[in-house]
Symmetry: C2
């Protein structure tokens, strides 16, 4: 069966956030992430397009619709410069309404790099954090590059795009940890059962409207000369203290 | 002045590790990293190729040779799908022979992703660690994508490609920390002044020949469901305890 023009057009449209949002569907590419997502409960696969050799090598769950495609067809569907054997459409996971009084919420203030965003979702999943709340100008978690970095955690961590400052003001009792340069040393901070951890934009940091809500401004001490740490690395380090240190 | 065919050929050749090694030169692309590297002492800039508007906006250190190029010329030189205003050639930094008895050495065992490698170099620089020792099958630190992720730390952290197991055996008194799944909890580990931190390949982990040298097998505790953490994130978390926790 050949891939139709309308299939190509549909999949290409999902390269844009607007269409991903409207359809509640996203695209994953490459054997590693597709095989991972096929086994994440809560994410339904709508369609797999793959080379015959990949199909014959993989044990697919029953009920997954698979279409064999040629290398040339895969190239037409793919957003990658070198398509990697398989591309699949998944439905976005759905979650119950978030309860911000339960556990830690990671707040992303304009994090731009999809790889950073995806890595932060994977970190949240590692530390048992169930949600990430993003400003509208943050990268989209369902961007193919972000999905690649989540390694399947996208099915277990709820990602919400909304107005973090407005929401946080409704919970005046929760502590707000802000990752900053020149703040209080991380190692003076104790584990917390709930609250917000705010991570800023890669170059501009946290905007004033969010910064003024901070109850703890924390910094990762370093004795070297780097000016800053990568946003995902900083998130991991802070959570290893805030969410996990006994 | 026009960009010559031989200039194009030379710069394109530097996309390959073999030529970067032979010439001891590497390429950086885009305003952010080029501007950063121009101000890192110990890295000499051999040539900048840039659009006129970038040249007029930036204060370049004296003695930096700059050639204005058209957008079309930049496209011929660039390894990026969308070239970003400036491309520059830098000489690789040189360092004195490493003294492994001084400080912590990060050992990378086949880390494949250049972004991870670059981010790990930046993390080393943050924590004041002066060297990264890599197996020959690790990604190259002078790959353009790795350089991008180092954010200038490539001038301050020595990256060595050699036989880590052979070298480590010459220092039988130094502790060897290996990042593993299912090891001892990180939080039981104390700060160390020197030793080795071994980080394995993104999917295969640490090879047996290195693992058998480990004196401490450490794991980052997580209560969630992610199967692993990104290699750079794990490096950052472990170092925040090993290199820095009081």
């Amino acid at each position: 069966m050949l891939v139709t023009k309308s299939q190509v057009k549909y999949i290409q449209s999902l390269g844009h956030k607007k269409f991903r949002d409207a359809e509640a569907v996203f695209v994953a590419e490459g054997p590693k992430i597709v095989e991972e997502l096929l086994h994440v409960s809560g994410i339904r696969c709508r369609q797999v397009y793959a080379l015959k050799e990949w199909i014959s090598e993989v044990e697919l769950p029953a009920a997954v619709p698979v279409q064999a495609v040629s290398a040339a067809e895969l190239e037409r569907l793919s957003g990658l410069s070198t398509p990697n054997r398989v591309l699949a459409l998944f439905e976005k996971p759905s979650f119950p309404p978030p309860d911000y009084n339960e556990g830690i919420t990671i707040v992303l203030d304009g994090v731009q790099d999809p790889g950073n965003l995806g890595t932060i979702i994977r970190i949240a999943d590692w530390f048992g954090i169930s949600r990430v709340l993003c400003t509208g100008d943050s990268a989209d978690a369902f961007n193919a590059k972000a999905i690649q970095s989540t390694m399947g955690s996208i099915g277990r961590v709820q990602v919400i795009y909304d107005d973090p400052a407005g929401i946080m003001q409704q919970y005046p009792d929760l502590p707000v940890y802000a990752a900053v340069l020149g703040g209080k040393e991380l190692y003076g901070i104790h584990r917390t059962a709930k609250g917000w951890l705010v991570i800023g934009n890669e170059s501009k940091g946290i905007r004033p409207g969010l910064m003024e809500l901070a109850t703890h401004r924390i910094t990762i001490p370093g004795s070297g000369k780097a000016e800053s740490l990568n946003a995902a690395v900083a998130t991991g380090i802070i959570l290893s203290h805030l969410a996990s240190l006994p």
